[in-house]
């Protein structure tokens, strides 16, 4: 038996060595990037502007650098997949209050899974729609209002740009209650009053009724929109958390219908959760 294992290991090593040798012969020098079919979009010139002079954010936006879908596809430049370069713009970890951290850690793996919008089919909400969303967003923007249409779950949201203040007694909404202002070419959106069932990220990061989200939108060029999120929630966090500036790129493809009507996973996950609870 041992001989078989040793022979197998030797065969594997030989195979790896052969591949390495073959690779060395056939691939370009290491300082040359391989050719990819799907690459990072060029900037595309200056951003368009509305009749009131502000930057126009209208467009069909993809959560990557490619301006098209990248999941399940071959030949995609890894640079085009991510929303930000963690070396250039590292994203800090949230500093949780101790009780919040303990609550998150107490979740079983299946409870964590069941809490995800992608599993339970509840709206992702704000700010998760910008932080944990592999699907596209279609923005229609005119002076006075911006409509954001999220492909995932066919959700949508209006952001009024007429200077209206935040409500004093907001209803809890999945997308919160928003007030917007311009800081130069940056659109700043403050939101409060969130439904308690949303998560900031799909890692158990829940929020309290004190959640205050700030979204900062810029369109540095025609093909790029940058969204940066700040999460202030003193009950859950020791200090406000700032996301990296995350890029979305302009695409031409269709936005599809996504009503979540065929969710067969819940039943199976609930069985697993019951098994976990018995083991606790």
């Amino acid at each position: 038996m041992r001989t078989v294992i040793v022979a197998g290991a030797a065969s594997l090593c030989a195979a790896i060595a052969s591949i390495a040798a073959l690779s060395a012969q056939t691939t370009a020098p290491t300082n040359q990037k391989p050719k990819y079919e799907i690459t990072v979009m060029p900037p595309g010139g200056p951003p368009p502007r509305l009749s009131d002079g502000h930057v126009d954010f209208s467009g069909h936006w993809f959560p990557n650098g490619a301006g098209q879908g990248v999941s399940g596809r071959y030949g995609v430049d890894p640079e085009a997949i991510r929303q930000f370069d963690p070396k250039a713009t590292p994203e800090e970890r949230p500093a949780f209050q101790q009780w919040a951290l303990e609550k998150i850690k107490s979740m079983t793996p299946t409870e964590l899974e069941l809490s995800k919008s992608s599993v339970n089919c509840m709206p992702r909400g704000v700010p998760a729609i910008w932080l944990q969303n592999p699907y596209t967003t279609y923005i229609m923007h005119k002076p006075g209002v911006m409509a954001q249409m999220y492909e995932v779950l066919n959700n949508w949201r209006l952001i009024h740009l007429d200077g209206r203040p935040l409500p004093k007694d907001p209803e809890p909404f999945f997308h919160g209650n928003s007030a917007a202002r311009w800081e130069g070419d940056t659109l700043v959106v403050d939101s409060i009053g969130f439904d308690e069932r949303t998560y900031i990220q799909p890692n158990g990061w829940f929020h309290s009724e004190q959640l205050h989200v700030t979204e900062r939108y810029t369109r540095p060029s025609m093909n790029y929109m940058i969204v940066q999120i700040t999460v202030d929630d003193p009950k859950v966090l020791q200090k406000p958390w700032k996301s990296a500036p995350r890029r979305w790129t302009l695409g031409n493809g269709e936005i599809y219908e996504f009503y979540c009507t065929n969710n067969k996973e819940l039943e199976e996950l609930e069985k697993l959760r019951q098994q976990e609870l018995k083991q606790k």
């Binding site: 195979a15 052969s18 793996p109 995800k116 065929n262 067969k264 199976e268 996950l269 697993l272």
Partner: protein
């Protein structure tokens, strides 16, 4: 025979490199529901497609070693993701009652004849990623 084994090992290793380079979906955790230690190949006849969000399911008559035919369900990526990577609804419909090869992983609950598909090939032989690849 030894040459064939080395060739097979090279092929398998090359395959692994190719699959590792393919991006995974950021949908949710595969490991929560599916067992990445229980993945296998399936060959059978595509019988039915249930094309809905968040996951389409397709059903395949799989013949076991004794010749017994069992109907298996396979979960795939979301329709949006499949459309964008070139495996749309019509591709499935065009292959109903035709042979299909699937690499997939079994359910953690032990649910009978249920798997999550990672890659598949229809009769045209094109390798298609239709779900998260685990091995």
């Amino acid at each position: 025979m030894a040459k064939w084994r080395v060739f097979a090992a090279l092929l398998a290793a090359g395959w692994a490199v190719l699959l590792a380079a393919a991006p995974a979906s950021a949908h949710h955790s595969f490991a929560a529901e599916w067992d990445s230690t229980k993945c296998r190949d399936f060959t059978g006849t595509l019988r039915k497609l249930d094309w809905q969000n968040p996951h389409p399911y397709f059903y395949v008559d799989v013949k076991d070693e004794k010749g017994k035919i069992e109907n298996w369900s396979f979960q795939a990526y979301s329709p949006v993701t499949l459309r964008r990577n070139g495996t749309d609804r019509q591709v499935f419909l065009d292959n109903i009652n035709k042979e299909v090869w699937i690499r997939g992983c079994l359910s953690k609950t032990g649910k009978a004849n249920a798997a999550a598909a990672g890659t598949l090939k229809f009769a045209d032989g094109v390798l298609r990623q239709v779900g998260q690849i685990q091995d």
